[in-house]
Structure formats: structure tokens, C-alpha cells
């Protein structure tokens, strides 16, 4: 049967569709050469770092201030550049 050989059986009989997943390119935190560090005293909680963060790792809450997920932060430095009060500094990684 020539025709049947051409049909590829899906693995585990699941449709081969991509599903939303964290970290499709692995832990992108390994790409980082500089690490953003937040000075919570200086932070004015304006949400600008969260709005502009390209990897969506910054979460600003009114009570706690910004928190950064360092597993996936690529260290681009956009947050430190847009911060109006200079609360985020880029520190070289060891």
C-alpha cells in the first residue's frame, strides 16, 4: 500500500500543534551579561519598566514595588533606561 505509507501517525495520537509554553528558547537568563538591580527606596512605582520590558519578567505591585524574574531576564537594560527616577542600575554578572 503506497498511499498509507505517506500518512505520518501523530506522536501519542495528539495533533502536532505548538502549545503556549514558558521558555521556548530555554532559560534566557543565561544570555545576560549585566543584571538589573532595583533600589526600592528610589522607586516611584510608575509601571514604566513593566510596560516596556520586552520579556515580560518585571511585575510592579503598589505594595512591594518591582520584582524581576532572573531566570528569563535577558539583561537588555531597557528598564534602567526608561526609569524616570534612576532606581534600576545595571550590575555586571560574575
Amino acid at each position: 500500500m503506497v498511499g498509507q505509507d505517506l500518512i505520518i501517525e501523530p506522536i501519542n495520537y495528539r495533533v502536532p500543534l505548538s502549545r503556549p509554553k514558558k521558555g521556548v528558547a530555554g532559560k534566557t537568563g543565561f544570555w545576560r551579561t549585566e543584571k538589573p538591580v532595583v533600589d526600592k527606596e528610589k522607586c516611584v512605582k510608575c509601571w514604566l519598566c513593566e510596560i516596556y520590558c520586552p520579556v515580560d519578567v518585571i511585575r510592579v505591585e503598589p505594595e512591594t514595588g518591582p520584582t524581576i524574574d532572573y531566570d528569563y531576564c535577558k539583561g537588555c537594560g531597557v528598564c534602567s533606561n526608561v526609569c524616570p527616577s534612576g532606581a534600576i542600575t545595571m550590575v555586571p554578572e560574575e
Binding site: A25, T28, D56, V82
Partner: protein
Amino acid sequence: MAQTRPKPPLPYRMRDIVLPGDAACPGCPIPMAWKVLAAVFREKMILVIPACCSSVVVGAYPGNSIKASVVHVAFASAAAVASGIAEALKKRGVNDVQVIAWAGDGGTADIGMASLSGAAERNHDMIYIMYDNEAYMNTGIQRSSSTPFGAWTTTTPIIGKTEHKKDVARIMIAHGVPYVATASIAYPHDFYAKLQKARRIRGFKFIHLHAPCPTGWRFDPKYTVEVAKLAVETGLWILYEYYDGKIRLSGPSRPYMDPAKRKPIEEYLKLQGRFKKITPEKIEEIKKYTEMYWDWIKRYM
């Protein structure tokens, strides 16, 4: 940088749709723009992505870095596939899902121009967003018709491109579609408002999004937002909306109608390595072209 305090609802709505760990370069503007899309549509969007940087950013099987439906299509057919999906949704009676064709400047201004023009003429209910990083960044910084005058790419002469940028937004206005707008990744609130307006309009909507690419434009990744902001502040990139046969300047661009209030163009050019070989005569030429663009806007306001 002096900035105003943004309203809080936007960041809360843009959370958890664009997932961390995508394959974009550090400082890439594409996920930044997707976050604004997420704030407007949440999961209720179907992105149609031709071959471009975004198809790499989304990631390969079995993962997907955005919590929405993504259709990968051939280079020239983004608008054609999106119009097909839009018609199918209409037949099935699905009204709350937005079809978005998300293509780069190569897939819009050069290769996808024919299918884009066809979809605009047929007036399908979809949003076409052209994110403009002004060269073919995915294949290694080749020149596109959207590359500005004087910019270096790997396939231009060493002195920079000798032709001007193709203005796709103006071509779309000539098609007579219901809504055309330009936006910038440096002004997410403005982009958000434009998407909200576009979603309420039935018919073909076109948004031209300015997105500086740190890798191709040769600047430090941390200046992505600053470069995009300077393009608006120097008057090189004008934010406007077109509907009901009239052009309306958007808030961030309104002060720069007066040439005296604009920042000098050199400030924008010196941040980028691609304009390293530019001469004063070429800067004069860019200024003249920008003034022509502003004159056109003032005429149709």
C-alpha cells in the same frame, strides 16, 4: 528623561499573554508591541505571521511564546491568509476574535504588497500591522524598500542607501480603507488607543508601527525605547490617524508640527551605527524630505 506617570490599568491587562523566554534578541521591540496587543485583545486574537523575525521569536514546536493562536504562512501571503480566516470566522458567526496580520517591512512593503493591496481592496474585517524595523533583519540586515535614506545595510553601498523610504501608510490611504494609523513602540498608550479604535471599526485596518532593531541599527539594546522616542521628537516619524477622509495628528506628535520645537535630527542619527558614514549634505536632504512629509500631513488635516 522627563516622563508622565502612566495610568495603571494597562500593565495589569498586558500580563501573562507574552510568555518569558522567547527567542528574540535582547531589547527586541516585537514582544513589547505584542504586550500592547495582549492588553487590547487578551487571548482573543489570531496572529497571521509570514516569514520574518516574529516567526523566530514565537519559537519552534512544541512550544509557543504567545498565549494566542498563531498561523505561520509563506512570505507573500499574510494578507491573503488573514482575509480567508476573517471570512471563515464571519461565516461561523464568531464575532469576538480579531484576525491580525503581523508582518515586517519586507512582508508588507516589498514581497507582500500585492496580497495586501488585494485584501485592502476587498475590505476584509482584519487588522494589518506592519512593524517597521527598516531592513530584512531576520536574514541578516539586507536593504528593504522601507530602509531610510542614508542608512547602511549589508546590501547598500558603503555610503548608505541612496533612495528614500517607501511610505506604506500613504499607499493604504490611497486604497480608501476605513482606518489607517501610524504608531511607535515608544508610546504604548497611544498604540493602545489606536488598537481600541481599530477594533470597533468593521473593515480593513492598517497600522504602521515604528520598531527600532538594536541588532540591525547598530545601537546598544538599552536604547530601543529612546531611539523610538527620538524618531518622534525629531519629527522624522509622525504619529497620525486617518479616518472619515481626514488625517488627525496624535497627541505625542502634535507639538512637533512647529519645526522650532523639534529636536535636531543629528541627535537621532548619532545614536545609531548604521548612520555612521552620513555626510552633512545627506542630513540636509533628510531634513528637506521630512519637511515635505509634514507639508503633506498639514494639507490633509
